[in-house]
Amino acid sequence: MKIGIVCPYSWDVPGGVQSHIRDLAEALIEIGHEVSVISPADDDPPAKPRGGPAGVPAAKAAGLPPYVVPAGRAVPVPYNGSVARLSFGFLSASRVRRWIRDGEFDLLHVHEPAAPSLSLLACWVATGPIVATVHTATPRSRTMLAAATALRTALEKINASIAVSEAARTTLVEHIGGDAVLIPNGVATRRFRKADPLPGWPGEGGAIGFLGRMDESRKGLSVLLRAFEILGAQRPGLRLLVAGPGDADDVLHRVPAGLRDRVILLGPIHDDDKAAVLHSVDVFCSPNTGGESFGIVTAEAMAAGAPIVASDIDAFRDVLRGGEAGELFSTGDPAALAAAAARLLDDPARRAALSSAALNAVAAYDWSVVAREVLSVYETVILGRDRGKVTA
């Protein structure tokens, strides 16, 4: 199948939608389909070396992958409360039109079709089978109402919608209209499978890892910090590696002074550096106290083969196969967390067993599996087509 995918946000800037499209495109190519992605991107990206914090290697300055067609410079504009880099206007529309004509696609797959960018333009200029994926919950604003007719006219052409979460689906139903099938994001397991640990990690005394916002209470860092008080006092060499945004001073103040030099805060890290962090610890901890529907970070840790200690919430119980692929401890209990982590730190054989069980279990969430679900949506839409290719 020849598939044209439209990305609304600049390829040069990391983001959830961009990674989703990259992983989907690569999985589809692997299955044997022809994929072209059009995205806002600087034709000649300036090589900006980005020094990672605290010894995290900087990601390579990214040139475009061969399947990405740049649609010209994206303009930074305020959108949805932050600055997004988007492409709009007649010039962008004509670039999309040319890309569709040259591509002779069997089907177009637009992402985030309501965003004022390439996806909306693609819906506007194209005729033929169109599938859309909705990623975020975007409440309808007054301004969107003003543009409602323009939006509706373009969105009415979409033959099938996919939502990546129940929240995204609800937004679509309530604010844009129509219905969607739910296909959750995949995990790009091979991106996590192998990586070099950060220099000096995990070290002789052992290391525990955490990834996520430090200041969001349901991510549970405070539970882990209290468990580390217990463990750190018993084990003089043990270190705690924490990666994620949040106020570092605030976190360090919650740790007893004697343990502070063994709590290493990396701050926010790039997607490409996650694997290195996950490979730098002996035990990875997901102490969330709730609010997760799937637990993507935990799944990524599984893909890295990290032995996991996770709180006993439904999402983790599911993904860790009821405890077979990682230790569960009673949610919010630092002593239980400390005990579970201590058992693993002392038992390399158990760690190895959990690591291979995790690698095994996470395969069910891999992009190759998710891509097949997306393909069955494509196939269903094409089943009823009257003409051959997408035209513009």
Binding site: P129, T153, E156, K157, N159, A160, S161, G177, G178, D179, V181, S376, V377, E379, T380, V381, I382, L383, G384, R385, D386
Partner: protein, 173 residues
């Protein structure tokens, strides 16, 4: 009447004309989307009944389950029963067959069984998808046609108001 008045009237008429024809074009496009989704749904239902028939006649099932499925397929292909009811009955027959205790383990190992069962499941899932997309197109079309301008000027022409297709399409209860 002065020349400027004439120009204004003509311009206004032109604008209204352009707007009305644009709205009519939109409704036409929606109807084509419904047609395409309907063709897909028909194809998906046909494919499902074919693989269900293949399973019924494959000799890997016990005779009772075979007859159950074959009857379902026969109903779908015949005219006696309304389409939606017949298709729902086929779903229920498939569900009854698939939810037998140890249905899969008892068949796996038989020649081609795993492939055939996977095909039936894929076909049933495609019916689920196709019906969702079809009903979605119908609802967009009905909303557009309910608007006053579309009703007063009969922008949809002679095209009938598309109907939702309701049926039981889930293989799991």
């Amino acid at each position: 009447m002065r020349v400027t008045d004439v120009i204004i009237v003509v311009a206004a008429a032109l604008l209204v004309g352009v707007y009305v024809s644009w709205r009519a074009g939109r409704i036409d496009r929606l109807h084509r989307r419904v047609d395409m989704a309907r063709a897909a749904l028909d194809a998906a239902l046909l494919r499902r009944s074919s693989v269900a028939f293949e399973l019924a006649s494959s000799a890997i099932l016990d005779p009772a389950t075979s007859v159950l499925l074959a009857t379902g397929v026969h109903q779908v292909r015949g005219e006696e029963r309304p389409r939606d009811l017949a298709e729902s009955d086929l779903t229920r027959a498939l569900r009854a067959a698939f939810s037998q205790p140890d249905f899969r383990p008892s068949l796996s190992g038989k020649d081609g069984a795993d492939e055939l069962l996977a095909e039936v499941e894929a076909a049933a899932h495609q019916v689920f998808l196709a019906r969702k997309f079809y009903n979605d197109a119908v609802s967009a079309t009905r909303i557009a046609r309910r608007r006053p301008l579309a009703r007063v000027l009969r922008l949809a022409g002679k095209a009938g108001l598309p109907d939702y297709f309701e049926m039981d399409d889930s293989l799991v209860e």
